[in-house]
Amino acid sequence: MIPVVRAEFLKLRTTQVWLWMLALAVIAGSLIVVGGLASDSVHTPRDVPDVFANANGTLLTAFVLGVLGITTEFRHQTITTTLLQTPSRWAVVAAKLFTYALVGLLYAAACAAVQLAIAVPWLSAKRIDFTLSDPDVGRAVFGPLLLFALFALIGIGVGALIRNQIVALVSGLVFILVINNIIPAIPVVKNSYAYTPAGAVTEILFPAHESTPGDVHLIGSGGGVLVLLAWALIPALIGAGYSMNRDIT
């Protein structure tokens, strides 16, 4: 298993997608933090957590990276070599899950480091107390470590399930960006929002807010983590057990 994981890291390192996605995540996340700090909505320590939590849009980079991590192999037919060397589809998918969870974690760490480097001096200039040991701040700054890893896993799962690069990306992004946001407004299904990726992100990053979209029922941040794990692992299991076994022609 370890050689397969090492090979996955090498695959990632030897093309440039990771670099562009990382740049996008770091720059976009920093801009959101700058925007939050520069706006006149941050006055007290209680306003600080949302400055970081609002950068959650950058999670999409981890999702895209995960989807590409597996669909690129089908796109360029390197999957043939991969499966000839590692015939077990389970091993291939497991190695990718492990690799991309770790990469997601590193992305989040890089984002958090840059965001803190911007926010700490700025907040102290504004004379707003800032401490990472505050549970709400800690959650907003370090929660993304978990979230990036989970979104990278979801990307791998969706990619393994769908195989086709453009279909996986477009349907994934349309679901997360369009459909997921309509759900809380629809009466019958709105309580399922807690079990969707966007709902779970809300659970984890904005637990204190009473005004969740559409006043939907939420299930707590531990539940949110489980929800995202399910969104990652269920497609990954179906992918490894079924899609990856389909004929490679």
């Binding site: 050689p3 695959k11 360029h76 070599t81 389909r246």
Partner: protein, 299 residues
């Protein structure tokens, strides 16, 4: 070299695509170690599908294929057991040739310098750090070969390896295949370039419409197929002279016949004694292409 027993056995293999396209139909044959086997058939005969089933990439509708008695997907060290070069396009365009092989080395737990050794072997030393995007067809083909031979496998499976190679490259490939077979490896090469195969293969498996047409050694297939082309302005006299001889005569054109069962020297002597004027007397060697067309046409 890994464990012995690199025999490929294809047993009653059938693949039906989309419910009605029988790409491979009850195909059985075996490929022996220490020899080069040519896998022949016209386009769409099912060669690539068969190879992909042997390699566990396409799931057979029925039947099975084994390598050394084991289905590909259960091999413990596939890279060190079987080396396969399937399509020239299976590379990430933005990755260098060297990195492609280094990834394979990592999975197979081979030392990284294997990658450089193989690039030297296939003549890609100078292109090692270039992205595959800019590679010619022939360079991709060489990189595929390097990937196939990376783990010094007992079994080598190559799909149309001569595609895109220049005449020098083809000669080099022939030498390489011969060398591999002499080391006792099993070499299975699909091709439609029959002359290349005839020159290098010990055995051939001929496929058409997904079915086995003929399998055997070149020696078996060519036995008794040599003939002599005789051209004469007076074929009538030649026919008379041949009457009663143990030969078969078949007309080629109005001034020539093909004679089997007698050497050129015997025929020349016979014509000389009978006073028949000859304009051509030439030995016609076994021709795989001709055999191939006679076996695959009209089916």
């Amino acid at each position: 070299m890994s464990a012995p027993g690199g025999q490929i056995v294809v047993d009653d293999l059938t693949k039906v695509f989309g419910g009605n396209v029988r790409a491979v139909d009850q195909l059985s044959f075996s490929v022996e170690p220490g020899s080069i086997t040519g896998f022949l058939g016209p386009n769409g005969a099912g060669k690539t599908t068969t190879l992909r089933m042997v390699l566990g990439l396409v799931r057979p509708t029925s039947g099975r294929a084994t390598i050394g008695g084991v289905p590909y997907r259960q091999l413990p060290n596939p890279t060190q057991t079987v080396g396969a070069a399937l399509e020239s396009a299976s590379f990430h365009p933005a990755r260098t040739a060297r990195n492609h092989l280094r990834i394979m080395c990592t999975v197979a737990d081979l030392p990284m310098q294997r990658a450089d050794e193989m690039l030297d072997l296939v003549g890609l030393h100078d292109a090692a750090r270039r992205k595959v995007r800019g590679f010619s067809m022939g360079m991709r083909q060489r990189l595929s070969l390097a990937a196939a031979l990376l783990g010094e496998p007992q079994v080598v499976v190559l799909d149309e390896p001569a595609n895109g190679l220049d005449p020098d490259g083809i000669r080099w490939l022939r030498g390489l295949l011969r060398h591999l077979a002499e080391q006792g490896r099993t070499v299975l090469v699909s091709s439609h370039q029959l002359n290349e195969v005839e020159e290098v293969a010990d055995r051939v498996v001929i496929l058409n419409h997904g079915r086995l047409v003929r399998a055997g050694s070149i020696a078996e297939l060519s036995a008794g197929t040599d003939s002599v082309l005789v051209r004469s302005p007076n074929l009538q006299a030649l026919h008379t002279a041949l009457t009663g001889q143990p030969v078969t005569v078949e007309p080629v054109d109005p001034t020539a016949v093909r004679v089997r069962g007698m050497s050129a020297a015997q025929l020349g002597n016979l014509a000389f004694t009978a006073g028949v004027e000859l304009h051509e007397l030439s030995l016609q060697r076994f021709d795989l292409e001709e055999l191939f067309f006679s076996l695959t046409s009209g089916q």
